[in-house]
């Protein structure tokens, strides 16, 4: 029974691991930090797994736990200066679609997102994941109106960072 549970967890996590990878990319810089956060999120998900009843999709549930983990962990280290690895996003665009101008813009955008705080990053993440405000609000535990207001503020902030 427990082995089945573990098996099903591992299988679902493997299938949905890109969610965690994407969160790690937003919240960390460097391979080691990425792996550490990935592992921490995995452990937290596993701990919470017995409470996951399957009435929502695994991915929806994983968003919530993973973001919470990233936010709490990130809080602990807010004092350390976040340095960003510029080369990390070199392979962000695949070779066939290589477009120098667009790549530069995306890089700058990434830099801007990095400067946001932990909660703002979570909102941007959900936005990039193409979630509607109902789901964003539910995942982050805020009201829908609040989520909209926050998102608009973040957009303003990003604009300011890009065009100071």
């Amino acid at each position: 029974m427990n082995e089945d549970l573990e098996k099903s967890f591992v299988k679902q996590l493997r299938e949905n691991q890109n969610i965690i990878h994407k969160i790690c990319r937003l919240y960390t810089s460097g391979d080691d930090a990425h792996k550490d956060l990935f592992q921490e999120i995995t452990i937290q998900l596993w701990k919470a797994f017995p409470k996951f009843r399957g009435d929502s999709k695994f991915s929806t549930w994983a968003y919530r736990v993973a973001l919470n983990t990233a936010i709490t962990l990130y809080r602990k280290s807010t004092k350390s200066i976040q340095t960003t690895d510029y080369d990390k996003h070199q392979f962000f665009i695949s070779q066939e679609e290589y477009n120098f101008e667009e790549e530069e813009r995306i890089k700058l955008m990434y830099q801007a997102v990095y400067q946001l705080n932990d909660i703002e990053k979570a909102l941007v993440f959900m936005y990039l994941e193409d979630k509607d405000y109902t789901e964003i609000a539910e995942t982050l535990g805020i009201s829908e109106v609040n989520a909209r207001v926050k998102m608009n503020r973040i957009k303003g902030k990003l604009k300011k960072i890009l065009n100071p």
Partner: protein, 212 residues
């Protein structure tokens, strides 16, 4: 916002760039906590042996035996010592085996079994050490009683005494120091391994919660 939507456009595609984690790696992540605790048990036990060895090198017992004219005891002492090292090295080997086993296990049921085995091994180890310490203390007293010239003089004095007052005083003193000494070691082991065992137990309970 145009820039954000550009990022969004490429966001989904970025998935291809992640190095995928295999199922085996995920299993390993789930069990890493226990394995790191067991690794500490192994490291601490090795450090502990090194510490005792260092102490025994600093305090040469051979000189003591010569001083009290107990040269014939040196051989017994060496045998006792080698026996002790053999047992402790066996324990370290068992700790090492437990560590390897826990860090490679992929099934949760087996992991729980391994945790219990490790706890049992550590407990045996602590009890063995405490027994050995108590035994050494008693042997030490016996040697002092039969060989130490100061004790011989005391024994003569006691023979002339009518009451057992001095004898009782000596036994009382010995019992008290033994109790304190063994107590201190017991505390030392409780602190050293107790914390690790507690963590291991917490991990075990977490696993058990999942074990429906």
């Amino acid at each position: 916002m145009e820039e954000l939507d550009l990022l969004k456009k490429y966001w989904k595609k970025s998935e291809d760039t992640f190095e995928q984690v295999s199922e085996v790696e995920i299993y390993k992540m789930l069990h890493k906590k226990s394995s790191s605790i067991v690794k500490w048990i192994l490291i601490i036990s090795i450090l502990e042996v090194l510490l005792w060895t260092l102490i025994s090198v600093c305090f040469n017992t051979d000189d003591y035996f010569k001083k009290i004219h107990g040269e014939d005891l040196i051989v017994y002492f060496e045998v006792f010592n080698y026996f002790n090292y053999a047992v402790i090295l066996t324990f370290i080997y068992l700790f090492y085996k437990n560590y390897i086993k826990i860090s490679t296990t992929v099934s949760i049921k087996q992991l729980m079994k391994d945790i219990l085995t490790t706890r049992r091994t550590v407990n045996y180890y602590v009890w063995y050490n405490l027994t050995m310490i108590t035994l050494s203390v008693f042997i030490g007293y016996a040697i002092a009683f039969f060989y130490n010239p100061a004790m011989i003089a005391l024994k003569e004095k006691m023979a002339h005494e009518k009451s057992n007052y001095t004898l009782l005083l000596i036994f009382g003193f010995l019992a008290l120091t033994t109790l304190i000494l063994v107590g201190l070691f017991w505390l030392f082991y409780r602190l050293l391994y107790g914390i690790l065992l507690k963590k291991l137990h917490t991990n075990y309970k977490e696993l058990k919660k999942i074990d429906l």
